[in-house]
Protein backbone atom coordinates (compact mmCIF):
# COMPACT_ATOMS: atom_id res chain seq x y z
CA UNK A 1 0.00 0.00 0.00
CA UNK A 2 2.77 2.37 1.03
CA UNK A 3 4.62 1.42 -2.11
CA UNK A 4 1.60 2.15 -4.33
CA UNK A 5 1.19 5.59 -2.79
CA UNK A 6 4.89 6.29 -3.34
CA UNK A 7 4.63 5.28 -6.97
CA UNK A 8 1.54 7.46 -7.50
CA UNK A 9 3.21 10.48 -5.89
CA UNK A 10 6.27 9.95 -8.09
CA UNK A 11 4.26 9.93 -11.30
CA UNK A 12 2.11 12.88 -10.28
CA UNK A 13 5.28 14.88 -9.59
CA UNK A 14 6.70 13.81 -12.92
CA UNK A 15 3.62 15.01 -14.80
CA UNK A 16 3.46 18.26 -12.83
CA UNK A 17 7.12 19.06 -13.58
CA UNK A 18 6.56 18.18 -17.23
CA UNK A 19 3.51 20.46 -17.45
CA UNK A 20 5.38 23.24 -15.63
CA UNK A 21 8.36 23.04 -17.97
CA UNK A 22 6.06 23.18 -21.00
CA UNK A 23 4.19 26.23 -19.59
CA UNK A 24 7.49 27.97 -18.94
CA UNK A 25 8.11 27.45 -22.65
CA UNK A 26 11.57 25.98 -22.07
CA UNK A 27 11.16 24.19 -25.38
CA UNK A 28 9.03 24.98 -28.40
CA UNK A 29 5.54 23.43 -27.95
CA UNK A 30 6.04 21.76 -31.34
CA UNK A 31 8.89 19.68 -29.88
CA UNK A 32 7.46 18.81 -26.47
CA UNK A 33 3.68 18.54 -26.04
CA UNK A 34 2.09 19.23 -22.69
CA UNK A 35 0.72 16.24 -20.75
CA UNK A 36 -2.73 17.79 -20.93
CA UNK A 37 -2.67 17.90 -24.73
CA UNK A 38 -1.50 14.29 -24.76
CA UNK A 39 -4.44 13.36 -22.54
CA UNK A 40 -6.76 15.41 -24.72
CA UNK A 41 -5.58 13.53 -27.80
CA UNK A 42 -6.10 10.16 -26.11
CA UNK A 43 -9.62 11.18 -25.09
CA UNK A 44 -10.42 12.39 -28.56
CA UNK A 45 -8.98 9.32 -30.28
CA UNK A 46 -10.90 7.06 -27.95
CA UNK A 47 -14.09 9.02 -28.54
CA UNK A 48 -13.94 8.84 -32.32
CA UNK A 49 -12.79 5.22 -32.27
CA UNK A 50 -9.41 5.74 -33.96
CA UNK A 51 -7.49 4.44 -30.97
CA UNK A 52 -9.59 1.35 -30.34
CA UNK A 53 -9.42 0.48 -33.99
CA UNK A 54 -5.64 0.89 -34.14
CA UNK A 55 -5.13 -1.14 -30.97
CA UNK A 56 -7.40 -3.86 -32.33
CA UNK A 57 -5.55 -4.02 -35.67
CA UNK A 58 -2.14 -4.10 -34.02
CA UNK A 59 -3.05 -6.63 -31.34
CA UNK A 60 -4.66 -8.93 -33.88
CA UNK A 61 -1.49 -8.93 -35.97
CA UNK A 62 0.65 -9.46 -32.92
CA UNK A 63 -1.38 -12.23 -31.30
CA UNK A 64 -2.10 -14.17 -34.49
CA UNK A 65 1.50 -13.86 -35.73
CA UNK A 66 2.89 -14.74 -32.31
CA UNK A 67 0.55 -17.71 -32.00
CA UNK A 68 1.59 -18.97 -35.42
CA UNK A 69 5.24 -18.54 -34.50
CA UNK A 70 4.83 -20.61 -31.34
CA UNK A 71 2.72 -23.20 -33.10
CA UNK A 72 5.49 -23.81 -35.61
CA UNK A 73 8.53 -22.97 -33.48
CA UNK A 74 7.91 -25.14 -30.41
CA UNK A 75 7.37 -28.45 -32.26
CA UNK A 76 10.29 -27.73 -34.60
CA UNK A 77 12.46 -27.17 -31.52
CA UNK A 78 11.48 -30.61 -30.27
CA UNK A 79 12.41 -32.06 -33.65
CA UNK A 80 15.84 -30.40 -33.78
CA UNK A 81 16.56 -31.62 -30.26
CA UNK A 82 15.46 -35.15 -31.09
CA UNK A 83 16.91 -35.76 -34.54
CA UNK A 84 20.54 -35.21 -35.52
CA UNK A 85 19.56 -34.52 -39.13
CA UNK A 86 17.14 -31.77 -38.09
CA UNK A 87 19.76 -30.33 -35.76
CA UNK A 88 22.32 -30.06 -38.56
CA UNK A 89 19.88 -28.55 -41.06
CA UNK A 90 16.99 -26.67 -39.50
CA UNK A 91 18.96 -25.99 -36.31
CA UNK A 92 21.64 -24.13 -38.24
CA UNK A 93 19.08 -22.13 -40.19
CA UNK A 94 17.34 -21.20 -36.95
CA UNK A 95 20.56 -19.95 -35.39
CA UNK A 96 21.16 -17.76 -38.41
CA UNK A 97 17.65 -16.35 -38.69
CA UNK A 98 17.45 -15.71 -34.96
CA UNK A 99 20.24 -13.16 -35.29
CA UNK A 100 18.38 -11.42 -38.12
CA UNK A 101 16.15 -8.63 -36.77
CA UNK A 102 12.81 -9.71 -38.12
CA UNK A 103 12.00 -6.23 -39.44
CA UNK A 104 14.56 -7.11 -42.13
CA UNK A 105 11.91 -9.45 -43.53
CA UNK A 106 9.64 -6.52 -44.36
CA UNK A 107 10.93 -5.78 -47.89
CA UNK A 108 10.61 -9.42 -48.86
CA UNK A 109 7.24 -9.75 -47.16
CA UNK A 110 5.90 -6.74 -49.09
CA UNK A 111 7.10 -8.25 -52.31
CA UNK A 112 5.51 -11.61 -51.58
CA UNK A 113 2.27 -10.56 -49.92
CA UNK A 114 1.80 -6.90 -50.93
CA UNK A 115 0.75 -4.24 -48.44
CA UNK A 116 -1.54 -6.66 -46.61
CA UNK A 117 -2.16 -8.29 -43.27
CA UNK A 118 -0.27 -11.36 -44.43
CA UNK A 119 2.92 -9.34 -44.76
CA UNK A 120 2.59 -8.12 -41.17
CA UNK A 121 1.76 -11.59 -39.86
CA UNK A 122 4.78 -12.96 -41.67
CA UNK A 123 7.10 -10.43 -40.04
CA UNK A 124 5.69 -11.08 -36.56
CA UNK A 125 5.85 -14.85 -37.05
CA UNK A 126 9.46 -14.64 -38.15
CA UNK A 127 10.25 -12.66 -34.99
CA UNK A 128 8.74 -15.35 -32.77
CA UNK A 129 9.48 -18.60 -34.51
CA UNK A 130 13.26 -18.84 -34.26
CA UNK A 131 13.45 -17.77 -30.62
CA UNK A 132 10.79 -20.31 -29.69
CA UNK A 133 12.56 -23.01 -31.69
CA UNK A 134 15.99 -22.39 -30.20
CA UNK A 135 14.71 -22.06 -26.63
CA UNK A 136 12.80 -25.34 -26.91
CA UNK A 137 15.82 -27.06 -28.41
CA UNK A 138 18.06 -25.77 -25.59
CA UNK A 139 15.52 -26.70 -22.97
CA UNK A 140 15.19 -30.28 -24.18
CA UNK A 141 18.95 -30.70 -24.34
CA UNK A 142 19.42 -29.59 -20.75
CA UNK A 143 16.80 -31.95 -19.27
CA UNK A 144 18.69 -34.09 -16.73
CA UNK A 145 18.80 -37.63 -18.20
CA UNK A 146 17.87 -39.07 -14.79
CA UNK A 147 14.31 -37.70 -15.24
CA UNK A 148 13.87 -39.68 -18.42
CA UNK A 149 15.41 -42.80 -16.88
CA UNK A 150 13.16 -42.53 -13.83
CA UNK A 151 10.10 -42.06 -16.05
CA UNK A 152 11.03 -45.04 -18.22
CA UNK A 153 11.37 -47.35 -15.23
CA UNK A 154 7.87 -46.30 -14.22
CA UNK A 155 6.59 -47.43 -17.59
CA UNK A 156 6.60 -44.15 -19.50
CA UNK A 157 7.38 -44.47 -23.22
CA UNK A 158 7.66 -42.40 -26.38
CA UNK A 159 5.05 -39.68 -26.63
CA UNK A 160 4.14 -39.98 -22.95
CA UNK A 161 7.76 -39.34 -21.96
CA UNK A 162 7.91 -36.34 -24.28
CA UNK A 163 4.69 -34.74 -23.17
CA UNK A 164 4.86 -35.56 -19.46
CA UNK A 165 8.58 -35.37 -18.76
CA UNK A 166 10.75 -33.73 -21.40
CA UNK A 167 8.51 -30.79 -22.26
CA UNK A 168 7.59 -29.93 -18.63
CA UNK A 169 11.24 -30.30 -17.60
CA UNK A 170 12.20 -27.79 -20.33
CA UNK A 171 9.55 -25.26 -19.27
CA UNK A 172 11.97 -22.75 -17.71
CA UNK A 173 13.75 -22.52 -21.06
CA UNK A 174 10.61 -22.57 -23.16
CA UNK A 175 8.99 -19.74 -21.19
CA UNK A 176 12.04 -17.52 -21.44
CA UNK A 177 12.18 -18.27 -25.18
CA UNK A 178 8.51 -17.34 -25.49
CA UNK A 179 9.22 -14.05 -23.72
CA UNK A 180 12.09 -13.29 -26.01
CA UNK A 181 9.97 -14.19 -29.03
CA UNK A 182 7.24 -11.85 -27.80
CA UNK A 183 9.72 -8.99 -27.41
CA UNK A 184 11.11 -9.58 -30.91
CA UNK A 185 7.63 -9.79 -32.42
CA UNK A 186 6.38 -6.64 -30.71
CA UNK A 187 9.41 -4.59 -31.70
CA UNK A 188 9.46 -5.75 -35.29
CA UNK A 189 5.73 -5.15 -35.71
CA UNK A 190 6.06 -1.56 -34.46
CA UNK A 191 9.03 -0.95 -36.77
CA UNK A 192 7.13 -2.39 -39.72
CA UNK A 193 3.96 -0.41 -39.01
CA UNK A 194 5.90 2.82 -38.71
CA UNK A 195 7.72 2.51 -41.96
CA UNK A 196 5.22 0.77 -44.23
CA UNK A 197 1.62 1.69 -44.86
CA UNK A 198 -0.51 -1.42 -44.80
CA UNK A 199 -3.68 -0.85 -46.74
CA UNK A 200 -5.79 -3.41 -44.90
CA UNK A 201 -5.71 -1.62 -41.54
CA UNK A 202 -4.06 1.18 -39.64
CA UNK A 203 -2.28 0.05 -36.49
CA UNK A 204 -0.63 1.96 -33.65
CA UNK A 205 2.58 2.31 -35.62
CA UNK A 206 0.71 4.12 -38.39
CA UNK A 207 -0.86 6.52 -35.95
CA UNK A 208 2.59 7.26 -34.60
CA UNK A 209 3.90 7.80 -38.09
CA UNK A 210 1.05 10.16 -39.04
CA UNK A 211 1.61 12.07 -35.83
CA UNK A 212 5.07 12.83 -37.05
CA UNK A 213 3.90 13.80 -40.54
CA UNK A 214 1.29 16.15 -39.07
CA UNK A 215 3.80 17.59 -36.60
CA UNK A 216 1.33 16.48 -33.90
CA UNK A 217 3.69 15.64 -31.07
CA UNK A 218 0.82 15.12 -28.63
CA UNK A 219 -0.32 12.28 -30.87
CA UNK A 220 3.18 10.79 -31.06
CA UNK A 221 3.69 10.86 -27.31
CA UNK A 222 0.18 9.53 -26.66
CA UNK A 223 0.73 6.54 -28.93
CA UNK A 224 4.09 5.88 -27.31
CA UNK A 225 2.35 5.75 -23.94
CA UNK A 226 -0.27 3.33 -25.27
CA UNK A 227 2.47 1.10 -26.66
CA UNK A 228 4.22 1.06 -23.27
CA UNK A 229 0.98 0.20 -21.46
CA UNK A 230 0.23 -2.64 -23.89
CA UNK A 231 3.75 -4.00 -23.39
CA UNK A 232 3.36 -3.98 -19.62
CA UNK A 233 -0.10 -5.55 -19.73
CA UNK A 234 1.05 -8.28 -22.09
CA UNK A 235 3.88 -9.14 -19.73
CA UNK A 236 1.44 -9.34 -16.81
CA UNK A 237 -1.26 -11.30 -18.61
CA UNK A 238 0.79 -13.61 -20.82
CA UNK A 239 3.89 -14.36 -18.79
CA UNK A 240 3.36 -13.59 -15.12
CA UNK A 241 1.24 -16.71 -14.47
CA UNK A 242 3.90 -18.92 -16.03
CA UNK A 243 6.68 -17.22 -14.15
CA UNK A 244 4.83 -17.59 -10.90
CA UNK A 245 4.40 -21.30 -11.65
CA UNK A 246 8.10 -21.72 -12.39
CA UNK A 247 9.03 -19.83 -9.26
CA UNK A 248 6.71 -21.89 -7.10
CA UNK A 249 7.79 -25.26 -8.44
CA UNK A 250 11.47 -24.83 -9.20
CA UNK A 251 12.24 -22.37 -6.41
CA UNK A 252 14.37 -19.31 -6.89
CA UNK A 253 17.36 -20.58 -8.79
CA UNK A 254 15.90 -21.52 -12.17
CA UNK A 255 12.84 -19.33 -12.57
Amino acid sequence: MKRTIGVIIFFVCLVVIWEALVRMEVWSPVLVPSPLSVLRYIGQALADGTMEHAILVTMRRLLVGYGLGLLVGLPLGLLTARFKLMEHTLGVIALGFQTLPSVCWVPLALLWFGQTESAMLFVVTMGTLWSALIATDNGVRTVPPIYVRAARTMGSRGLHTWSRVIVPASLPFIISGMKQGWAFAWRSLMAAEIYVTILTGFGLGHLLHYGRELQAMDQVVAIMLVIIVIGLLADKILFSPWERFLYRRWGTEKA
Binding site: I146, R149, A150, T153, M154, H160, R248, R249, G251
Partner: protein, 263 residues
Protein backbone atom coordinates in the same frame (compact mmCIF):
# COMPACT_ATOMS: atom_id res chain seq x y z
CA UNK B 1 6.87 -70.39 -14.33
CA UNK B 2 7.55 -73.14 -11.79
CA UNK B 3 8.17 -72.16 -8.15
CA UNK B 4 11.85 -73.03 -8.54
CA UNK B 5 12.45 -70.68 -11.45
CA UNK B 6 14.41 -67.68 -10.17
CA UNK B 7 12.68 -64.29 -10.48
CA UNK B 8 15.81 -62.69 -11.86
CA UNK B 9 18.68 -64.39 -13.64
CA UNK B 10 21.97 -62.78 -14.59
CA UNK B 11 23.91 -65.09 -16.87
CA UNK B 12 27.58 -64.54 -17.75
CA UNK B 13 27.08 -60.83 -18.16
CA UNK B 14 29.92 -58.63 -19.37
CA UNK B 15 29.71 -54.88 -19.77
CA UNK B 16 32.31 -52.38 -20.93
CA UNK B 17 32.09 -48.61 -21.17
CA UNK B 18 34.14 -46.51 -23.53
CA UNK B 19 35.17 -43.20 -22.02
CA UNK B 20 37.65 -40.56 -23.09
CA UNK B 21 40.22 -42.02 -20.73
CA UNK B 22 39.85 -45.48 -22.25
CA UNK B 23 37.75 -48.54 -21.74
CA UNK B 24 36.25 -49.41 -18.40
CA UNK B 25 35.54 -53.06 -17.79
CA UNK B 26 32.54 -52.60 -15.51
CA UNK B 27 31.34 -56.21 -15.29
CA UNK B 28 33.18 -59.37 -16.15
CA UNK B 29 31.29 -62.61 -16.58
CA UNK B 30 28.89 -62.02 -13.71
CA UNK B 31 26.21 -64.58 -12.90
CA UNK B 32 23.55 -64.29 -10.26
CA UNK B 33 20.11 -65.71 -9.59
CA UNK B 34 17.56 -64.08 -7.34
CA UNK B 35 14.60 -66.08 -6.05
CA UNK B 36 11.10 -64.68 -5.87
CA UNK B 37 10.70 -62.54 -2.69
CA UNK B 38 14.42 -62.74 -1.96
CA UNK B 39 16.21 -59.59 -0.73
CA UNK B 40 19.70 -59.53 -2.21
CA UNK B 41 22.28 -56.91 -1.31
CA UNK B 42 25.16 -56.16 -3.65
CA UNK B 43 28.12 -54.89 -1.66
CA UNK B 44 31.47 -53.62 -2.84
CA UNK B 45 33.61 -50.53 -3.15
CA UNK B 46 32.82 -47.79 -5.63
CA UNK B 47 33.52 -48.72 -9.21
CA UNK B 48 32.91 -52.44 -8.81
CA UNK B 49 29.99 -52.46 -11.23
CA UNK B 50 27.11 -52.85 -8.76
CA UNK B 51 25.24 -49.88 -10.15
CA UNK B 52 25.95 -51.03 -13.69
CA UNK B 53 24.45 -54.44 -12.90
CA UNK B 54 21.39 -52.77 -11.39
CA UNK B 55 20.89 -50.65 -14.52
CA UNK B 56 21.17 -53.77 -16.66
CA UNK B 57 18.54 -55.58 -14.62
CA UNK B 58 16.37 -52.46 -14.85
CA UNK B 59 16.75 -52.58 -18.63
CA UNK B 60 18.14 -49.04 -18.76
CA UNK B 61 21.26 -50.47 -20.36
CA UNK B 62 21.99 -53.66 -22.27
CA UNK B 63 24.83 -56.12 -21.58
CA UNK B 64 27.65 -56.62 -24.12
CA UNK B 65 27.67 -60.35 -23.49
CA UNK B 66 25.46 -62.74 -21.59
CA UNK B 67 21.80 -62.21 -20.81
CA UNK B 68 19.44 -61.11 -18.13
CA UNK B 69 16.09 -62.77 -17.52
CA UNK B 70 13.16 -61.51 -15.51
CA UNK B 71 10.48 -64.17 -14.95
CA UNK B 72 12.36 -66.27 -17.47
CA UNK B 73 12.03 -63.66 -20.23
CA UNK B 74 15.01 -61.66 -21.49
CA UNK B 75 15.07 -58.05 -20.35
CA UNK B 76 14.89 -55.79 -23.40
CA UNK B 77 14.06 -52.50 -21.72
CA UNK B 78 12.73 -50.92 -18.57
CA UNK B 79 9.37 -52.08 -17.27
CA UNK B 80 7.16 -51.06 -14.41
CA UNK B 81 7.41 -54.57 -12.98
CA UNK B 82 11.00 -53.62 -12.03
CA UNK B 83 10.93 -50.27 -10.28
CA UNK B 84 14.19 -48.44 -9.67
CA UNK B 85 15.14 -46.17 -6.83
CA UNK B 86 18.20 -44.14 -7.75
CA UNK B 87 21.00 -42.69 -5.66
CA UNK B 88 19.57 -39.25 -6.28
CA UNK B 89 15.87 -38.71 -5.68
CA UNK B 90 15.21 -37.79 -9.36
CA UNK B 91 11.88 -36.21 -8.41
CA UNK B 92 10.14 -34.09 -11.04
CA UNK B 93 10.28 -30.40 -10.07
CA UNK B 94 7.25 -29.47 -12.21
CA UNK B 95 5.02 -31.70 -10.05
CA UNK B 96 4.27 -31.42 -6.35
CA UNK B 97 5.01 -34.28 -3.95
CA UNK B 98 1.64 -35.95 -4.42
CA UNK B 99 1.75 -35.84 -8.22
CA UNK B 100 5.28 -37.21 -8.18
CA UNK B 101 3.96 -40.29 -6.39
CA UNK B 102 0.99 -40.38 -8.76
CA UNK B 103 3.24 -40.40 -11.85
CA UNK B 104 3.87 -44.14 -11.81
CA UNK B 105 0.33 -44.90 -10.63
CA UNK B 106 -1.19 -43.05 -13.58
CA UNK B 107 0.66 -45.44 -15.85
CA UNK B 108 -1.24 -48.37 -14.34
CA UNK B 109 -4.41 -48.61 -16.42
CA UNK B 110 -6.13 -51.05 -14.09
CA UNK B 111 -6.53 -48.52 -11.28
CA UNK B 112 -9.15 -45.79 -11.27
CA UNK B 113 -8.38 -42.30 -10.02
CA UNK B 114 -9.90 -42.84 -6.59
CA UNK B 115 -7.75 -45.90 -6.03
CA UNK B 116 -4.67 -44.08 -7.26
CA UNK B 117 -5.25 -41.23 -4.84
CA UNK B 118 -5.71 -43.68 -1.98
CA UNK B 119 -2.55 -45.59 -2.82
CA UNK B 120 -0.46 -42.42 -3.15
CA UNK B 121 -1.78 -41.11 0.17
CA UNK B 122 -1.10 -44.45 1.84
CA UNK B 123 2.55 -44.53 0.78
CA UNK B 124 3.14 -40.88 1.61
CA UNK B 125 1.82 -41.60 5.09
CA UNK B 126 4.05 -44.64 5.26
CA UNK B 127 7.18 -42.56 4.67
CA UNK B 128 5.89 -39.94 7.10
CA UNK B 129 5.23 -37.15 4.61
CA UNK B 130 1.44 -36.82 4.79
CA UNK B 131 1.88 -33.20 5.88
CA UNK B 132 3.96 -32.43 2.80
CA UNK B 133 1.68 -33.93 0.16
CA UNK B 134 1.25 -30.66 -1.70
CA UNK B 135 4.71 -29.27 -1.06
CA UNK B 136 7.02 -28.44 -3.94
CA UNK B 137 10.09 -30.57 -4.43
CA UNK B 138 12.55 -27.71 -3.83
CA UNK B 139 11.05 -27.10 -0.40
CA UNK B 140 12.02 -30.56 0.89
CA UNK B 141 15.24 -31.57 2.61
CA UNK B 142 17.46 -34.21 1.02
CA UNK B 143 16.09 -36.90 3.31
CA UNK B 144 12.50 -35.98 2.62
CA UNK B 145 13.12 -36.03 -1.13
CA UNK B 146 14.53 -39.53 -0.88
CA UNK B 147 11.49 -40.62 1.12
CA UNK B 148 9.21 -39.26 -1.61
CA UNK B 149 11.29 -41.20 -4.12
CA UNK B 150 10.76 -44.34 -2.02
CA UNK B 151 7.01 -43.74 -1.93
CA UNK B 152 7.02 -43.11 -5.67
CA UNK B 153 8.65 -46.42 -6.48
CA UNK B 154 6.67 -48.43 -3.93
CA UNK B 155 3.28 -47.02 -4.91
CA UNK B 156 2.77 -48.96 -8.17
CA UNK B 157 3.46 -52.12 -6.12
CA UNK B 158 6.19 -53.55 -8.38
CA UNK B 159 7.18 -57.20 -7.92
CA UNK B 160 10.84 -56.29 -8.22
CA UNK B 161 12.53 -53.34 -6.53
CA UNK B 162 15.97 -52.24 -7.66
CA UNK B 163 17.57 -49.88 -5.20
CA UNK B 164 20.84 -48.07 -5.76
CA UNK B 165 22.27 -46.80 -2.45
CA UNK B 166 18.94 -45.14 -1.78
CA UNK B 167 19.65 -44.21 1.84
CA UNK B 168 23.24 -43.04 1.49
CA UNK B 169 22.36 -39.36 1.77
CA UNK B 170 20.01 -39.65 4.76
CA UNK B 171 20.70 -38.93 8.41
CA UNK B 172 21.14 -41.95 10.69
CA UNK B 173 17.75 -41.66 12.42
CA UNK B 174 15.74 -41.40 9.22
CA UNK B 175 17.76 -44.24 7.77
CA UNK B 176 17.03 -46.58 10.68
CA UNK B 177 13.35 -45.74 10.43
CA UNK B 178 13.43 -46.59 6.75
CA UNK B 179 15.19 -49.92 7.43
CA UNK B 180 12.26 -50.83 9.65
CA UNK B 181 9.71 -49.54 7.14
CA UNK B 182 11.29 -51.31 4.20
CA UNK B 183 11.35 -54.63 6.08
CA UNK B 184 7.72 -54.14 7.11
CA UNK B 185 6.68 -53.36 3.55
CA UNK B 186 8.49 -56.41 2.20
CA UNK B 187 6.78 -58.54 4.83
CA UNK B 188 3.35 -57.20 3.96
CA UNK B 189 3.75 -57.16 0.19
CA UNK B 190 6.50 -59.63 -0.65
CA UNK B 191 8.91 -58.23 -3.19
CA UNK B 192 12.07 -59.32 -4.86
CA UNK B 193 14.67 -56.71 -4.04
CA UNK B 194 18.15 -56.06 -5.38
CA UNK B 195 19.78 -53.49 -3.15
CA UNK B 196 23.12 -51.87 -3.92
CA UNK B 197 25.15 -50.47 -1.04
CA UNK B 198 28.69 -50.08 0.22
CA UNK B 199 27.54 -50.28 3.81
CA UNK B 200 27.96 -53.85 5.06
CA UNK B 201 25.77 -53.40 8.15
CA UNK B 202 22.99 -52.01 6.00
CA UNK B 203 23.32 -55.04 3.74
CA UNK B 204 23.20 -57.49 6.65
CA UNK B 205 20.24 -55.66 8.18
CA UNK B 206 18.16 -55.82 5.01
CA UNK B 207 19.40 -58.76 2.94
CA UNK B 208 18.56 -62.42 2.88
CA UNK B 209 21.78 -62.72 0.96
CA UNK B 210 24.81 -60.48 0.63
CA UNK B 211 26.83 -60.63 -2.57
CA UNK B 212 30.36 -59.27 -2.47
CA UNK B 213 31.71 -57.54 -5.56
CA UNK B 214 35.30 -56.68 -6.38
CA UNK B 215 36.31 -53.98 -8.84
CA UNK B 216 38.45 -53.77 -12.01
CA UNK B 217 36.78 -55.64 -13.57
CA UNK B 218 33.54 -56.03 -11.57
CA UNK B 219 33.15 -59.63 -10.40
CA UNK B 220 31.17 -61.57 -7.84
CA UNK B 221 33.66 -62.61 -5.15
CA UNK B 222 31.69 -64.32 -2.45
CA UNK B 223 28.13 -64.70 -1.21
CA UNK B 224 26.77 -64.86 2.33
CA UNK B 225 23.37 -66.01 3.47
CA UNK B 226 21.98 -63.98 6.34
CA UNK B 227 19.45 -66.00 8.31
CA UNK B 228 18.83 -63.68 11.21
CA UNK B 229 15.17 -63.43 12.27
CA UNK B 230 13.17 -60.43 11.06
CA UNK B 231 12.50 -57.67 11.73
CA UNK B 232 16.17 -56.94 12.25
CA UNK B 233 17.60 -54.08 14.22
CA UNK B 234 20.70 -52.55 12.68
CA UNK B 235 22.16 -51.99 16.15
CA UNK B 236 21.81 -55.60 17.38
CA UNK B 237 24.87 -57.59 18.40
CA UNK B 238 24.07 -60.61 16.22
CA UNK B 239 23.83 -58.39 13.21
CA UNK B 240 27.16 -56.74 14.05
CA UNK B 241 28.80 -60.18 14.23
CA UNK B 242 27.61 -61.05 10.73
CA UNK B 243 28.68 -57.66 9.46
CA UNK B 244 32.16 -58.08 10.92
CA UNK B 245 32.55 -61.43 9.26
CA UNK B 246 31.51 -60.07 5.88
CA UNK B 247 33.64 -56.96 6.27
CA UNK B 248 36.62 -59.19 6.98
CA UNK B 249 35.93 -61.15 3.81
CA UNK B 250 35.58 -57.94 1.87
CA UNK B 251 38.93 -56.68 3.11
CA UNK B 252 40.52 -59.99 2.27
CA UNK B 253 39.30 -59.73 -1.32
CA UNK B 254 40.17 -56.10 -1.76
CA UNK B 255 43.47 -55.71 -0.14
CA UNK B 256 44.62 -52.70 -2.11
CA UNK B 257 41.33 -50.87 -1.74
CA UNK B 258 40.88 -51.01 2.01
CA UNK B 259 40.14 -47.32 2.37
CA UNK B 260 37.20 -47.46 0.02
CA UNK B 261 35.22 -49.81 2.21
CA UNK B 262 32.72 -48.25 4.53
CA UNK B 263 32.66 -49.36 8.18
Amino acid sequence: MTPDTPKLVVENVTKRFRTRKGEIHALDNVSLAVRETEFVCLVGPSGCGKTTLLNLIAGLDLPDNGRILADGKPVAGPGSDRMVMFQEPALFPWLDVFDNVMFGLKLKPRLNNKERTEVATYYLELVGLERFMYANVHELSGGMKQRVALARCLAPNPRVLLMDEPFASLDALTREQLYRDLQAICQKRPKTVVFVTHNVREAVCLGDRVVLFSPNPGRVQEQFTVDLPRPRDINSVDLAKHATEITRALKRHLHPDLTEVAE
